[in-house]
Amino acid sequence: MKQVMEGSHAVSEAVRLARVQVISAYPITPQTHIVESLSEFYAEGSMDARFLCVESEHSALAALIGASSCGVRTFTATSSHGLALMHELLHWTAAARLPIVMAEVNRALGPGWNIWTDQTDSLSQRDTGWIQLYCEDGQEVLDTIFQAFRLAEMVNLPAMVVMDAFYLSHTYEPVDVPDQKRVDRFLPPIEPRIELDVENPCALSQLSPPTMFMELRHNIQIAMEHVPRCFKLVEDEFAALFNRRYGQMEPVHCDDAEIIMVVTGTAASTCREVISDLRSGGEKVGLLKIKMFRPFPKELIRKFLAPAQKVAVVDRNFSFGTSGIFAQEIKASLCNLDAHPFVFSYIAGLGGRDVTVDLLKEIYWKTKENLTPTDESIWMGLREID
């Protein structure tokens, strides 16, 4: 049923329908609406789950590690500093192969304190072994939560569903919320592969010597390599029931594009308009919206970007000392090809600064004008500071 709701509530509706059993969360702007609406569901009894009001994000994830190790479906949500505080345990969750799902609201890390959207927080955690799925709008958020549970439980890797602060979390949009029966068909109860059991006692996560450590780590990578295949299966089933699909990425007019703009999050919506505009002016431009960042979908990246002459990556994040992170990963995917486009790296929208139609067009023209890209990322719209 179509309802108008903010992105946060799309998350909480999906969590409720997914029959999550243990939730543990700590409030941080702009994730608070997720946590609050889940608390309301819990309090009014419309959700059969345990809700732990923990005293920090680190404890939130610790509690879920405990719960998930018992073989139940678990969920948390956080943002920015909360995610950073969880860092140690993000590594732990993935290495423990627990299918925890987290809603992560992209927000800048301070100082200065900044509550608005910025992707540096989630991308800083790219080494931890979590599946990362970036969403563009409320519907995608809702759908991706369901898909994340299926996917995580299939490969035994945790997954984070990422959305922009305020632009997505607090923006009201129409969202088609499916009924419980349909969701149950897509997402049956968890069949855990890891479960503490007094009838079959074992120790989990104990001391592991060098002689088997590489195998443990390699096994995580093997799981990551299964993700694209599994994701497709999940999307096929989802499409069959709900008639929607997103793909690991979405190419828009990339077939004949000379320049492809790579954008993620809500900015991708803005970019669709930009592409439309430019194309009507005769520009051979395309948009590649990336949804799945981890595992990094190298094959598809190569497939869609290799034919172009130039790629303009718009990063709403930065890795100090190098470049925008999407740009970095894309360059790494393309570098071994015989023929590949030049990759232009642009930084825009950090700390919630608006990414407008004009800004994106400016990026396009800049890309078109310059034969080759600079080594350094180009920071868009920087003001003079005394």
């Binding site: 923990v54 005293e55 404890s59 190790s69 074992c202 592991s208």
Partner: protein, 293 residues
């Protein structure tokens, strides 16, 4: 049979574990599981027991173990309990088994949070009074007067041991108690009591001698744990709902008898020992006062 102590026979711990010879923490776990039985899940954060419990692929306990990060025992136990409840299992006892580091210091926040939420599990701190697993560095459970590798030589610890039971009593925790490996019946009784009190958090603080870190002969581990109680350095008592105090044993020996057996206190002068005696007497009187209140 003329048994000295009457406690359950069955053991849920196997030999072949990696504890040092004479380890008090090993004896503590042995007694704890005798009391709690098979239907127990143990959460072990980083610390001596993370190693004692066995490296891959071995396990020394006959109950499930979830190893966790150092500072997470309280939260992890909360999560395990929540999950078991959701699975309809109200019978399995959840026990967090942390050292003094993971309880008094880095794990304190997590413990406090869990107790404030009054989550249903037993939190056990096996206290060997320093970070033993990483090489005998001081913790806030290290008593005044101790030499450790981070309070060496003249820099021996000048601050007093944190009183964890008092802190949790202030949380109005349903049940908190101290125990010593030299008093097996008392310890088993407390664990059995803790097991029966469902619906809230229970805390047991165990005195666990460490011959390696305290520089004591391995054969005296139980004797020292007994002396600690007999000299009121580690009184045995229980607190219900944070307010009702019951003392289980009254000590009457001078602290010097306890201190002189241990290498970690070897440097103390008679004056230092006098100060320690005064503090011990004062603390004991405060505790006595609480039983009347």
């Amino acid at each position: 049979m003329m048994r000295q102590f009457n406690i359950p026979d069955a053991d849920y711990m196997s030999p072949g574990h990696l504890a040092c010879a004479g380890c008090g923490a090993a004896i503590a776990m042995k007694f704890a599981l005798k009391a709690l039985g098979r239907q127990t899940v143990v959460i072990i954060p980083a610390g001596c027991w993370a190693i004692i419990a066995g490296t891959y692929p071995y396990i020394t306990l006959k109950v499930p173990i979830l190893h966790t990060a150092f500072e997470t025992s309280g939260a992890t136990a909360s999560g395990v309990r929540a999950a078991l409840d959701m699975k309809g299992d109200r019978d399995t006892t959840v026990m967090a088994w942390a050292g003094d580091g993971g309880t008094f210091d880095i794990g304190f926040q997590s413990l406090s949070g869990a107790v404030e939420r009054n989550d249903d599990f037993i939190y056990v701190c096996y206290d060997n009074e320093a970070y033993m697993n990483t090489g005998v560095q001081r913790s806030s459970a290290t008593p005044y007067g101790t030499r450790t590798t981070t309070t060496p030589g003249k820099g021996w610890k000048k601050t007093r041991k944190k009183n964890i039971v008092e802190i949790l009593a202030a949380h109005r925790i349903p049940y908190a108690a101290t125990a010593s490996i030299a008093f097996p019946e008392d310890m088993v009784k407390k664990f059995q009591r803790a097991k029966e009190i469902k619906g809230g958090t229970r805390f047991i603080h165990i005195f666990a001698t460490c011959p390696t870190g305290w520089r004591t002969p391995t054969e005296t581990s139980v004797k020292i744990a007994r002396l600690a109680v007999q000299t009121n350095m580690f009184p045995l008592y229980e607190v219900e709902d944070g307010l009702k105090y019951t003392i289980n044993c009254k000590g009457d020996r001078p602290v010097a008898e306890y201190l002189k057996l241990q290498g970690r206190f070897k440097h103390l002068t008679d004056n230092d020992i006098k100060n320690i005696q005064e503090t011990a007497d004062k603390d004991w009187n405060i505790l006595l006062g609480k039983t009347r209140g």
